[in-house]
Structure formats: C-alpha cells, structure tokens
Point group: C2
Chain length 215, copies 2
C-alpha cells in the first residue's frame, strides 16, 4: 500500500490512522507546490488534480479523497476500532468527516493557504470561520472526542485545527476546541505523525528557500 | 422522518434517493435566504449553520451533511441498491461523494451562488472548475453512472451539474458530462424530484419578488 502525502497536509490524518492501527505503508512525499514526488515523478500522472492523500492499493487500484481513504483504512484494520458500527453512529462519523472536509477544510482553510487567492477570497473564508468554529465549540464542550471514542474523524479534525497557527484564525476564543486540540496533539499516534511530518515540512521549506535563492 | 430542504439545493439528492427507494418523508421547506421554514420557524434552531439537507429521524435525532444523509438513507432502504457492498466499491462511492461535495459543490458552486461573494471569489471558483470538470469528463467517458450502477453519488452529481445553467459554467465543452446529465435528468426519480422542486423554486422566487416590491 502506497500513500501519497505532503507534509502536514490533510494526508497526515491517514498517517495518524495507520499509526493508531499499528500499521504502516510506503509513504511517498509529494511537493505541494511542484506536484512532483520525492523521486522527481509527476504526481499528476497518478491524480490529475494533484491532491493528497492518494492511496495506491497492493492490486494497483488508486483511491482518492480524504474521507474515502480514512474510512477505507479504518475498515481494513477493524481491530483498531476507528469507525463505529454501521447505523446511526456510522452516519454521525460521516457527518463529521463531511463537515470537516467541506465546511472547515475546503470552505475555510483551502483559500487561506492558497497564495494565489486574492485578498477578497481570504477575507470571505475568514468570515465563514466564526460560525463553523462556534458549532464545533458547542459540540466539543464536555466531550473528549467527536464521537464516543477516538475515530478517523478526530484524526482529520486534529490535522485541520493544527493549521490554524499558520492563519489569522485564533482558536483562543474557542476554549473547548483549543483544549481538544491540545489534548489530541499529545495522543501518541498524533504526536508521532505530526512530529515526523513537521520535520519533513521544514526540510521542504528549506529546500524551496535554497532553490529560490540560487543564482 | 422529516427532511429539511430548499428547492433545487443539494437536498434534492435526498429526495431523488427517497423516490428511487419508493419511499417518502415529511419534506419541510426552508427559505434559502431567510432560513425560515415554510411555517415561519427559525431553521437555525435546528441547524445553527442553516444548511440543508438536515434529517430529523423518528426518534428525534438530527443528522446533517449531505454525504452522511445520502448514505444513511441508502442503507435504510437496502433493497433499492443505492450503495455498493462494503469494500473497495463502497470506498469508491465515498470518493465520489467527497469529490462532488468538496471539489464541485463547495469549491466551485457555493461561491458562484453566494450573492455576497466578491467578484474575485467568483473568478477564483470559476478558475478551479475546468480541471475538476475535465476529471469528471474522463471518468464518465463510456460510462452510464459514476459506479457500476446508479448510486446516491449519481443523485448528488445530477443535482450539482443541474446548477451549471444558472452560472457562467459551460458544460458544452464536456460532452460526456453533458450526455450524462441529459440522460440522468430523464430517469424517473430524478425527473420527478427536479420537476417538483423547480415548481417550488419558482414559487419561492415569486414570493421574494412580491416582498421586495411591497411598499
């Protein structure tokens, strides 16, 4: 199983999921800007939109889209208990995966991270953040996880909330969200994944700085 | 079961799903602008973000987010065969639901439909449409549906593609996508749902015009 990822991108949720399950994969790093893999291959030949995570299964099948990959991994390693049983609780998991993916990730953070996005686009995204974080704040009050126990939705949410420090979004105004993030960051699978990817992220930044300062 | 919907919004996919399954629900219309239900109730008391579809189950539980509701309905009426069996095909269904939700719906159409979105936001969304529709075009070439047979992902996609006429997006440049949309629109469940919701949409427009022209 090969997992195409970019350091600290939403693909980190798949890494957390694998570590939770005591599993691994061949991790193939994709430069988020050039869309080339670490070995110089054109990642767009694998996924035309150049989006991570992308999973290549042992049989060669390509699976894309975060919510799909997270649920696939969770079902592949059921002993880790990362998805609830089918029924209403499973629907709730899908509700949170969908909310994080559409409302937070694509609606708020994607435009904030796009350096080509005009200022108006960024302001528009920021404006939408408040109500979405309030909803999350109300839900997380008095709760340890999004559902009854840790699930792939938490793996996704911690990665997305972790991005806030690199944006004008201030989580301090949302105490339950802040506490959740601080708590989850200490969870071994999360701590390990974020620590490893932060190192790779810094290496990528350093390499980009070197390239741009070359004569 | 109560389904909160706005005419021709993505909640129409849930109506199509119910019709496919030969089922119904109590449909509660929500004015997309005022966020009030047909009977004058504040829909934000049900869903703070005011987003449809929102499903209230017989037991009173509230379920939100399109991908979650579509899968919940499909699993509730398994004889309709609207989701593949668990495994890789189920993951593919989730991949398409996620792609339609994040890349097409939220990434392209939501900003195009938001009248408060600045021009730059709309241009940014339009720019992203091309590569996403090209990906869809390649996938639909020679295929009748997104998966092997009609699924809730098709119910969602037909509703989203149906929006293009109200935007500057031209589907004519994507022949397989255009043919798919024309074909799916004729499917009885889709034809019935879109016909009914178009009538409600026109009534909503007429009511809004009357309100704004009132002295």
């Amino acid at each position: 199983m090969e997992l195409y990822f970019s350091p600290l991108a939403c693909s980190a949720a798949s890494r957390i999921t694998l570590y939770e399950a005591g599993q691994s994969a061949t991790f193939i790093e994709v430069d988020a800007k050039t869309k080339r893999t670490h070995t110089g291959q054109d990642f767009r030949a694998v996924h035309p939109l150049g989006l991570v995570p992308t999973l290549r299964l042992a049989e060669g099948d390509i699976l894309t889209e975060n919510a799909a990959i997270l649920q696939y991994l969770a079902e592949r390693f059921p002993e880790a208990g990362l998805v609830p049983a089918p029924g209403l609780e499973r629907a709730r998991l899908q509700q949170w995966l969908c909310f994080i993916g559409t409302e937070l990730h694509k609606g708020v953070f994607t435009p904030l991270f796009d350096r080509e996005a005009p200022e108006a686009v960024q302001q528009y995204a920021l404006k939408g953040a408040q109500a979405r974080l309030e909803l999350l704040e109300r839900h997380l009050r008095g709760r340890e996880f999004l559902l009854e126990c840790f699930s792939v939705a938490d793996a996704y949410l911690v990665v997305v909330l972790n991005w806030a420090v690199a944006t004008p979004i201030k989580l301090e105004g949302f105490p339950s969200v802040s506490a959740y993030l601080a708590r989850l960051r200490k969870r071994p699978s999360v701590a390990r994944a974020l620590h490893e990817e932060l190192a790779l992220y810094r290496r990528e930044l350093a390499a980009a700085a070197q390239t741009s300062s070359a004569p």
